[in-house]
């Protein structure tokens, strides 16, 4: 067994020994296997695209990406993160998509002195009380997309809403975020088993409650199942579907197909965004990967460019942690989201838009921007954050 471990070690040494001196080392930990594997690949593709456009450099230095698979299991993620930090000596960690993996990984990574620049997961703990000088979320805080949709429906005067989400913390966060701004009547608030396949029973309950709209948060396969079945039940026309972009983005739309057309999503970015950075990104992504990018890919793309811009502003010397932190906090880059800046808790302040799912010229369902919901939206936890100096 000792031999096994030793040979495992030698093998990984061989792969890392060939790299040129002084590269920036970035650990990309995400879910690559199992049903969640699609999201990890989406994030990695967005991240890699930005690096390639940049000649595979960060802040003018060559970059080495150490990839890790967390299998959507916190303890597996923890082990992979330990390896990245201790053996590969990564300086920045990114890619993590599940909040529970983030919570298992963040503390040891930060304790070891690494930066975390999240391209996806943005748990409320790190936006609030546990905020950390070296923790940045270039993506979003979990609740904000739901807050935007709640705000929109409140402003529009929609009276009765029915809420659905999986029974896990992110599901509760999303619905809590929605209720933070929506003050109308909530005629149903249902939490289903994580990974549930069939929603016929819940949809029947929705029909019986006859609300003015349904707000749902179902990521991945759950969202595909729910939207298809909702459409088959014939409810989409009478009771409109509203969701955060994660329930209706390009990771699921191709599989849902026409069933999603007519649903509404709140988003900080959509593939139809009309700014030069975004258009360039979408075109490059489609050309390279033969599919439309999702907001997750856009976030990862932004994350890489954000890290690069910050590193560049200090001449690539990210080893100076105080300077790098400062550079990240005040980073200026050409975000695909148009406007982007960090709040004091290192979570983004960004605009939110209402989008509707329509078919594009090629007949593919996409998110089309309808109106801006909120400018410079901040998360709800920033007041709890006492950022250390």
């Amino acid at each position: 067994m000792k031999k096994l471990i030793a040979s495992a070690f030698v093998l990984s040494l061989l792969s890392s020994a060939a790299i040129a001196a002084d590269p920036v080392k970035i650990g990309f930990l995400s879910t690559f296997s199992g049903p969640g594997g699609q999201l990890g690949q989406e994030l990695l593709d967005g991240f890699n695209l930005a690096l390639e456009e940049n000649g595979k450099t960060i802040g003018g230095r060559p970059v080495e990406i150490i990839q890790g698979d967390d299998q959507a299991k916190p303890d597996v993620g923890r082990q992979a993160a330990d390896k990245m930090i201790e053996r590969d000596k990564v300086q920045i960690m990114t890619g993590i998509n599940f909040s529970n993996v983030m919570l298992a990984v963040a503390k040891p990574a930060l304790d070891a002195g690494a930066f975390i620049v999240s391209s996806n997961a943005g748990p409320s703990q790190y936006a609030g009380a546990q905020c950390h000088p070296h923790f940045f979320a270039a993506s979003f805080q979990n609740d904000t997309a739901s807050e935007a949709m709640g705000l929109y429906l409140q402003n529009k005067g929609v009276k009765k809403m029915y809420l659905l989400a999986p029974n896990y913390p992110a599901g509760k966060d999303f619905l809590a975020g929605f209720k933070r701004f929506y003050k109308g009547q909530i005629v149903g608030e249902v939490y289903t088993t994580f990974g549930q396949l069939d929603y016929a029973a819940e949809i029947a309950q929705v029909r019986a409650a006859n609300p003015d709209g349904v707000y749902f948060f179902y990521p991945g396969g759950m969202g595909i199942n729910f939207v298809k079945q909702y459409n088959q039940a014939g409810l989409k026309k009478t009771i409109p579907l509203y969701g955060p972009s994660f329930s209706l983005d390009q990771t699921v739309l191709p599989a849902i197909g026409d069933a999603a057309v007519g649903a509404f999503a709140s988003a900080f970015w959509a593939e139809s965004f009309d700014n030069p950075a975004s258009k360039k990104f979408v075109a490059a992504f489609e050309a390279k990967y033969k599919r439309i990018p999702s907001p997750n890919a856009a976030d990862a793309y932004d994350t890489a460019r954000l890290i690069d811009a910050a590193a560049k502003s200090i001449g690539g010397k990210i080893e100076d942690k105080a300077a790098f932190r400062k550079a990240l906090e005040t980073v200026k880059f050409d975000s695909v989201r148009g406007k982007f800046r960090f709040n004091t808790n290192h979570f983004p302040i960004q605009d939110f838009y209402l989008t509707e799912i329509v078919k594009d010229a090629k007949g593919r369902p996409v998110m089309a921007v309808r109106e801006k919901i909120d400018s410079d939206h901040k998360d709800a936890y920033v007041d709890k954050c006492k950022m250390a100096n």
């Binding site: 495992a8 698979d69 303890d75 201790e86």
Partner: protein, 338 residues
């Protein structure tokens, strides 16, 4: 006349056990020598899963009872340590007692709680046998799993972080080397206990019951109580492994007690070989190390991993232990001829 057989079996069991423990004990020194402390973390994970797999094999390999609720006990052990530490860190009393980050208290608590739960679960599950036992234990595992998710106060699905420093009595075990040797000592104890148990009168009844229940009843023994005792012992040792996992990674989550983790433990045991006490320890090492090495090569590592498992089960009837024994036998055979 019985002596030669006994000596042979002792050689078969004791020598590999000592080799495994010695190899593990040497890993921190290797890690230090080549300057890669991460190896110690991997070795710790190997040791913890080895404890659970060896414990599970007590009922699987010797009792003929394939349990799919051992991840549940693994998680129960972890949550006892985690919850007590949470109350310690937040200085909030837990019913009548205060929280603690001392393993000298939380380990016995984990043992006690898992023993109580295992007694109830075992008493019900052991009414069934064969595949029905497999599925009823799966049902209990699902109940534990959803129960842990319902623990919203302790993080629910997000899991529970241990913020305080874990100690063992006056000893700070947050140092990875110290913690590794603590885990290794528990593995050694587990191997010793299970090794003694399977050769004892108790073990004879347990093993005979798994192969021929009718015969055991006919000589005047009701296997039920023996199976229950074995189930409880196995569950308790698994809970200790879970407690160590939580203490070592400072974190426990419901994912650690999902049914697929139960399946992983069974796979480790069978992969290593259920016929010998130390087999599952090798299986755990192979599983953990293969997973780590393969997943660093390719995102399609599960394809290779799956094929390797198929290959092993097709070619080796007694798991990796079989391979080890064959190699050992051939080498000593060659030595004799040479």
């Amino acid at each position: 006349m019985a002596e030669p057989a006994t000596n042979l079996s002792r050689l078969r069991d004791v020598v590999p056990t000592l080799l495994i423990l010695a190899a593990l004990a040497a890993t921190p020194m290797v890690a230090l020598a080549i300057g890669d402390p991460f190896i110690v973390k991997v070795a710790t994970r190997v040791v913890i899963f080895a404890i659970a797999a060896v414990a599970l094999n007590f009922v699987v390999g010797y009792g003929g009872l394939v349990s799919l609720c051992h991840a549940g006990f693994f998680g129960i052990g972890g949550y006892v340590v985690g919850i007590l530490a949470w109350h310690d860190f937040n200085a909030e009393p837990l019913w009548f007692m205060s929280g603690t980050s001392d393993l000298a208290i939380s380990l016995p608590a984990a043992i006690l709680l898992s023993a109580m739960i295992a007694t109830i679960v075992g008493a019900i599950s052991l009414r069934t046998s064969g595949p029905y036992f497999l599925m009823i234990t799966l049902a209990f595992n699902q109940m534990f799993y959803y129960g842990a998710i319902a623990l919203q106060k302790y993080g629910g699905d997000d899991g529970l972080q241990i913020m305080s420093t874990i100690t063992l009595g006056p000893l700070d075990v947050s140092n990875r080397y110290r913690f590794f040797y603590l885990a290794l000592a528990v593995l050694a104890l587990t191997l010793l206990l299970v090794g003694r148990f399977v050769d004892s009168r108790f073990g004879m009844v347990l093993r005979a019951s798994s192969k021929n229940e009718t015969r055991v009843i006919a000589v005047g023994v009701d296997p039920w109580l023996y199976r229950l005792a074995a189930f409880v012992v196995s569950a308790v040792l698994t809970a200790v492994a879970g407690a160590l996992l939580a203490a070592g990674q400072q974190f426990i989550s419901p994912v650690d007690m999902g049914w697929d983790r139960s399946g992983d433990l069974v796979v480790m045991a069978v992969l290593g070989g259920v016929g010998v006490v130390w087999g599952p320890a090798i299986g755990a090492a192979a599983f953990v190390v293969l997973e780590l090495v393969l997943s660093s090569w390719t995102t399609h590592w599960q394809f290779v991993f799956g094929l390797l498992i198929v290959l092993i089960v097709v070619s080796l009837r007694g798991g990796l232990a079989d391979l080890a024994q064959t190699l050992f036998a051939r080498r000593s055979g060659e030595a004799k001829h040479g």
